[in-house]
Symmetry: C2
Subunit: 162 residues, 2 copies
Amino acid sequence: MSQGEGAGAAGVDLETSLGYLLKEASSSLRAAMEAALRPLGMTVTQYSCLELLSQRPGLSNSELARGAFITRQSMNVLLQALERDGLVTRPAAAPVGKALPTRLTARGRRTLDRASGAVRAVELRMLGEMTEAERAAAFALLQGMVVRLRGGEATVSAPSAD
Amino acid sequence: MSQGEGAGAAGVDLETSLGYLLKEASSSLRAAMEAALRPLGMTVTQYSCLELLSQRPGLSNSELARGAFITRQSMNVLLQALERDGLVTRPAAAPVGKALPTRLTARGRRTLDRASGAVRAVELRMLGEMTEAERAAAFALLQGMVVRLRGGEATVSAPSAD
DNA sequence: CAATCTATGTCAGAATACTGACATGAGTCA
DNA sequence: TGACTCATGTCAGTATTCTGACATAGATTG
């Protein structure tokens, strides 16, 4: 049966699997981002958090966690560190409910600006010579995969970001 | 200017970023695989290791680590557990060099067979109604990204054709 | 032959993310 | 109003992965 080399029938052929290649691409991207952010003393997750806050000010801890694809507990630890370092601010009390709207400080924005350039360079390198049509095709194909994997769930619900 | 909502010029627009979408897709795939493997009491990394060993018997610890996109130290921890549970075997002494060729046991193969079906179902769901041409296109596009990301690190040159 | 380089396996500690749990605030519904 | 459900923030413990370090085996090089 599939006991020798060729395990392509019952299993997933790693040579041609889109899932495996997707993981490889994501791993490569993460490694490249880590290398680009290391000189700035920043991790990928920290950058993701700051970038999210830049484009969607006032996101709560849970919303940031979903946007960075980690749990809200992990994001909470990260936010506490960022708050301690003066990169973000959170009100002591929630204006409504329990959600604490987080915002970048001036220092946080400056830190993000440096990192954002490095990350954009990585993304540009990744895109390379891809044409606009190819980028659009890749975007559509990946989006389709996400939709089917999640069963048609939305990504990050964008609340009224003031 | 770019400090409010629309930070599309200096940074990376998360709404249209292929990198962000790539991370989202990988996260979705991992979550789906975890959900599929949880009933079997197996993690994604464990499955990756067993699948690699099935298709490439005799891979060493370091080779498995590269194939699963983790460090060889982490893979070593995983292999020790798999060996303890009787799913894989490693010779006590290296036949050549220091590399220890790892192989699946009968029990490991049975465990993998169950998991492999579950994972293949996830991949099929991810592919959905994609045509063969679309799959090939996605594969080629992702492969290109990997090549460019792994390629130059200091040189952002990337001789563009346009 | 000897020195050097590279790759590997492994141990130990640190960093990161996750699961479990609890209390709180808001919305829903009888 | 009161019970119920859901989402959130947070604490605590666990699990996984990473970085650093060391010794060893083979290849390379002079």
